[in-house]
Each structure stands twice: as C-alpha cells, then as structure tokens.
Symmetry: C2
Subunit: 235 residues, 2 copies
C-alpha cells in the first residue's frame, strides 16, 4: 500500500520552498507529527544542517516537526522507525552515493513499499524510479550503482524541459538524451514538468498539478498525458 | 610533446558537421593521411558505421582518409598504430564505458602524451580532462569509472552555457552544478563555449575561437579568459 508524492521540483518560479505543494502536503501528511528528512542531495553544496533548517521552516507551516537523518546515530534505524519521509532535491549522484554508503537503499525501498508516506522532490523523486539514468544532474561523484528504489515501474526525468525551437545551442535536448537512453534500455521515462507531481496511492498513480507530462517509451513517438490522468501505460 | 585540439562542439549553429573547424584542421593535420575515428559516443544512438560515414565525408574535404575503430579486429592495436585520432561527441558515459570495456584508456592516454595528433569534440574533449565529472550528458549507462585520460590538468565542461537571467526554470544552472562539483573536488573546470577550442602543443595550451571561456576554481569566483590566451592558471 504505497503512499507517495513524487514531485518534479521543490519550488516553482516566483514561489518559496515547497510553497506550491503545501496545500497538498497538509492533506497528504494529515496525522503525521514527525517527518524524517534526507538532505543528502545538498543543492549548491548546502550543509545537511542548513538544508534541514530550510525544510523545518516549510513544514512548520503545516505543523509537522522535521528531523534530518544526519542527526541520528543510526540512519538505518531512523528510516526503519520513521513515521513519514521526505527526500529533497539537489545532486542525484551524491544522493544515491550516500544512500549506498549508508546502506539505506533496501530499507528505504521496503518502507516505501509498505505504506510509509513519502515525499520526493527532484533528486528525491529520481530515486523512486528503476534507475537514476534519466537525471539531468552532473556526475560530480561516482556512486556504487545507478540502480535506485524502483518503487515506480519507470524512470523520472525531473524538471522536464521541452525543446526550445528558437535555441541556437548545439548541446542535446532533453528528448534527444532520453532517446539515447532507449538505445540501451527499455525502461519507460516520464518527463515531469516543474509544477507537476505524481500521487501514488497503493497501485494507483495519478498525474497532478496544472501541466501535462511527457511519456517516452522505447521505439515509440513520445506522447503527452493530461493532468489527473491515471498512469497506466507502464505494463 | 602533445598535439591536441579540444573543441567544445563539432558543429556551430547554422553550420555543417566540423565545418567551422576545417580550416584549422587542415593545418593541424597537415601531412596526415589516415585518421582513426572513435565513434563510441553515438550521438542520438547513431550506429558506429553511420557516424563514421559522416566523419569520412567531412575529412574528405581536407583529403584525409578516416577509418572507424570498430572496423579493426583489435581496437587496442588500432590505437597503438594510429597516425592521428579523432573522438567524436555524443554521450560521454557510453564513450567512457566503451573505452574501459575495450581496455583503451591507458593506450589512448599514452598516444596523446607522446604526440599523436588528436581531435576531440564535446564528449571526445571531456575525456581529455582528469575526470568526466563535468559532462552535461545523461548517465544512460554505468561506466566502470569516471576517471578519464587526464592529458589536460583540469576538467572540461563542453557546450558551456551562461545562466539565462530571464529563465523561469528551477533546474540548476551550469555554474551551480560546477559549484556543487567543487564541494567534493579541487580539480579546475574550464567552461568551453560552443565555437571555442583549446590548442595544445607540447605543454602550451591556448584558447582558440571567437569567444572567451569561463574558469571555475574551488573557493574562488569564476572568471573569464580571452581568446588566444595561454591557459596557465592550472598549477
């Protein structure tokens, strides 16, 4: 009985940290008093403490107390006993690296598969896929594996950006990069635009937020799914 | 006695493949009759044969014959005996993966360090750095290591893009990603804009092309170096 919110981004343009999601989170985390925060992705290299403080401030608005996993002596035990979990964005390589280093991949997967409410944003959403192979992040550290939690039957491309028809830049577009991925793998990829999230309740996965999302399947033309659709093309 | 051209991109906007570099290459490769091409990076998943054909067409204009490394029974021997080498762009993860799989990293490094003329574009330039940790590419395969040739004493960020002050996108800018890299590493990073290249002759490294490049050092503000400058801040 999974219960997940998998968001493309923690902030949308012009908004503060988690602001656009707070109305949803106050319902999603109803009854939750303590949230375990995983700050390993360290956006811009922020310290675990500073990142946790930022998250504490946001969740204080909906009366949830936040503790950083680094504040526990035993991070594995912290996950095992967590009432609810949030993994924030930043660098997916470093996040995955720390999850492996601290031997947290299996226990986190088990917790998510058995109903612990979970929020992921950006890198924290990428790790819910089968692998982290569709991250946009820079490979600043070498993790022991690219395999991730696999609590979703597909991969996430967070902060999905449509190709800009007016661009003069010759670097690959996001769509081209995902096409290159499908030369080697058959795992579906969901391009999740900023402001979108997936709500997973049990086996039902629904796209939320104001925008459509883009689905990439191997050997097929990418297509759009509308907001509030059930994601059911990943069989 | 190194002899390298390390280019940000193979094509600039509005130009055909290698077009903007051909005048330079016709001088750089003067006297070269046979060029070994390494097509492992496979941009958009193009086949080795098709990629090699594209390169053959470009080099035919300056009367150089091109053979793809995949056309040899023994790729190691192909590098060992190569008169000149070109590694094309595409996905850096897959390029590095294939270099390790075929046990070519050491022999390629040795060839470049002992004067074999070498052209790299994009992914083929990234591998000349100490590590591939500043690539923009998607991690579509898991290479055995991120360590690369280290024939340059710094890392390359190819297709360097300045932050767009009008962007509403919340994904990290290139500069932020490189800053995150410097939380973990002290290796300098050169942001090489499209149309720029580095010419390495012996120990002298010169920035070429119409644009300046951006230098990122740990714990310092990034700064610009002008075209035709000698790169000498990497000590």
């Amino acid at each position: 009985m999974k219960k997940l919110i998998i968001a493309s981004t923690s902030s949308i343009y012009g908004g503060t940290f988690l602001e656009y999601l707070l109305p949803t989170l106050s319902i999603f985390f109803k009854g939750t008093q303590q949230l375990l925060f995983i700050p390993y992705a360290r956006p811009s290299g922020i310290s675990y403490n500073d990142y946790t403080t930022k998250v504490q401030k946001a969740f204080a608005k909906i009366h949830i107390h936040v503790t950083g996993i680094h504040q526990f002596d035993d991070p594995k035990q912290a996950i095992a006993t967590a009432e609810a979990i949030f993994t924030g964005g930043g660098n997916t390589f470093e996040l995955v690296n720390q999850l492996y280093k601290n031997d947290l991949v299996e226990i986190l997967k088990e917790k998510l598969n058995t109903g612990t409410p979970y929020l992921g944003t950006s890198a924290g959403s990428n790790i819910c896929g089968v692998s982290m192979m569709n991250t946009n992040d820079m490979p600043i550290v070498y993790p022991p594996s690219f395999h991730t939690l696999g609590v979703l039957p597909f991969n996430i491309n967070a902060h999905y950006l449509d190709p800009n028809p007016h661009s003069t830049h010759m670097g690959e577009t996001r769509a081209t990069r995902i096409k290159e991925f499908h030369v080697f793998h058959t795992i579906p990829v969901l391009g999740l635009r900023e402001g979108s999230w997936i709500e997973v309740i049990g086996d039902e996965m629904i796209l939320k937020g104001p925008l459509s999302a883009r689905v990439f399947l191997p050997s097929k033309e990418p297509f759009e799914i509308e907001s509030n659709s059930i994601l059911e093309f990943f069989d």
